[in-house]
Amino acid sequence: MNQVALALQGSWKVLLASLVLGAGLPLVFAAGIRSMAYGQGGSAEADTSARPHPVGRALAVLCFLVVLAGVALGITIVVASGFGKAVSFAHVFPTLVAK
């Protein structure tokens, strides 16, 4: 029974982290694409009479940077675990620590 409790605890943590990264980052990515289309206007929008809005492009770049940072974090976790290190979020900002 102890094992079941541990597994539930583990699942819960994995679910929370994955919701933030696995659903959150695609959301930001989608927001980036939305902004890009808003910035471009015309044929990028379903409503082709939409005018371009420069601010859309700036927002899009911001969104894509957030996504890239998330991907970089993912790669760091993989690489770090291979080298016997782990990424710690104890200081909010991710830092490398020994496992």
Partner: protein, 408 residues
């Protein structure tokens, strides 16, 4: 060449063969969605995945001697084989490992023939458990972990397998729903191009994680065999050649591409559109990475399948073929026992014949079974050219059935 060396060589070759099947069985986990949506051409997708698996395999510096330790009792806490197994060049240990690997390979090949994505780790664990039961009885298996760590068959294999499809499915469904909400009103041509890059990025991340996690298992098994037979003594490092051949085996397998499995995952379960591909792969990558980070390692296959199902549930009007999903779940349930039966039968066979001849016979049986399965697969080949064909194996939807009736 002594008899112990012959057996060791057979174990190493069989372990690499398992690593190879592990590669092609799991290509679909990372690349099925990108292939199905046309984000990448099939050949390019498997090549990319192969490269990332190769890189990932070299990143695994830690010794995974504990892989076998989690399910069978042949090692002490540090991962060293117990003395009663290392007598006579480690014959007892090597035979268990060899038969376990054969069980894993046979099950991997059989599920590949049927195009069912099933967990390679479960197959390996199953084979080892079966061989251990045959050799040592039920006490040879580490069933339930004790204390505060998830361990044993229940903690490391069964519970994570139950949890992972639900976690991944939920994340992917939510991600899909959000992506569609946010991009409503954007022209489809525009979104498809954007999501193409998102898919490639997220699928590459899954491949990298796969190489790191899965190649490590074979490295651990080979290193265990080397220690057991007295050819290596360090539990803290892996011989470089082991790392090299394991990395090459898994990436060659990935590059070959398990087209049958890719087809089921990409076309069979759900018809996938680019935004769904992005959501599914992001969910897979996030679940795999965060679970291994939190010490609750999940099987890549269960996660990827859960994500793809979830992305079908998250898009309004997407069709999920539950009969395909059920077939898959049935295969998952019997993976462990089926591989265990093969592992056990192989051990009895090897033990009955005895000595080097026993190990050679087990190996020859593996070669014969593998050749048979390969020959069967040629009757209905699936390859990069037809992997994306319409899914007709099942009378799919009401619409398709009606169309057929109209045609008649």
């Amino acid at each position: 060449m002594t008899s112990a060396t012959v057996i060791l060589a057979l174990v190493v070759v069989t372990a690499l063969a398992f690593d190879f099947t592990n590669g092609f069985h799991d290509t679909g986990n990372a690349m099925a969605t990108s292939i199905a949506t046309g984000a990448l051409r099939p050949k390019v997708a498997v090549a990319l995945s192969g490269v990332f698996n190769l890189v990932g395999a070299f990143l695994s510096v830690e010794v995974a001697l504990t892989v076998t330790n989690a399910v069978i009792n042949v090692q002490d806490k540090a991962g060293l084989p117990l003395p009663e197994f290392t007598a006579g060049g480690g014959y007892a240990l090597l035979l268990i490992v060899l038969c376990g690997l054969v069980g894993g390979i046979v099950w991997n090949l059989l599920t590949w023939l049927l195009g069912i994505p099933s967990s390679s780790s479960h197959a390996l664990f199953g084979g080892l458990i079966g061989a251990a039961i045959a050799a040592l009885g039920f006490s040879g298996v580490h069933w339930v972990g004790s204390g505060t760590k998830l361990d044993g068959v229940v903690g490391k294999v069964i519970l994570p397998a139950v949890a992972s499809p639900f976690i991944a499915g939920l994340v992917a469904a939510l991600g899909t729903w959000l992506v569609y909400r946010v991009t409503a009103g954007v022209a489809q041509r525009f979104t498809d191009n954007g999501f193409r890059w998102g898919q490639i990025g997220s699928a590459s991340l899954v491949s990298l994680a796969h190489g790191t996690n899965d190649a490590q298992k074979t490295m651990g098994v080979i290193t265990l065999a080397l220690i057991g037979s007295g050819h290596w003594s360090d539990t803290k490092s892996i011989p470089f050649w082991v790392k090299l051949v394991c990395a090459l085996a898994i990436s060659a397998g990935t590059y070959l591409g398990g087209w049958r499995v890719i087809r089921t995952l990409g076309k069979g379960l759900v018809e996938i559109l680019p935004p769904q591909g992005l959501a599914a792969e992001s969910a897979s990558a996030a679940v795999i990475l965060s679970s291994s980070h939190l010490g609750f390692a999940l099987s890549t296959t269960h996660v990827a399948t859960g994500s793809i199902l979830g992305t079908g549930l998250g898009r309004k009007g997407a069709q999920v073929r539950w009969n395909v999903a059920l077939r898959m779940v049935a295969a998952w349930l019997i993976t462990l026992p089926a591989a265990a039966v093969v592992g056990a039968v192989m051990w009895w066979l090897g033990h009955l014949v005895g000595g080097v001849a026993g190990a050679v016979v087990v190996f020859l049986v593996l070669v014969a079974l593998a050749s048979y399965i390969y020959a069967r697969s040629r009757k209905q080949p699936v390859h990069s050219g037809n992997v994306n064909d319409e899914w007709e194996a099942q009378p799919a939807s009401e619409g398709a059935r009606r169309q057929k009736e109209v045609a008649r």
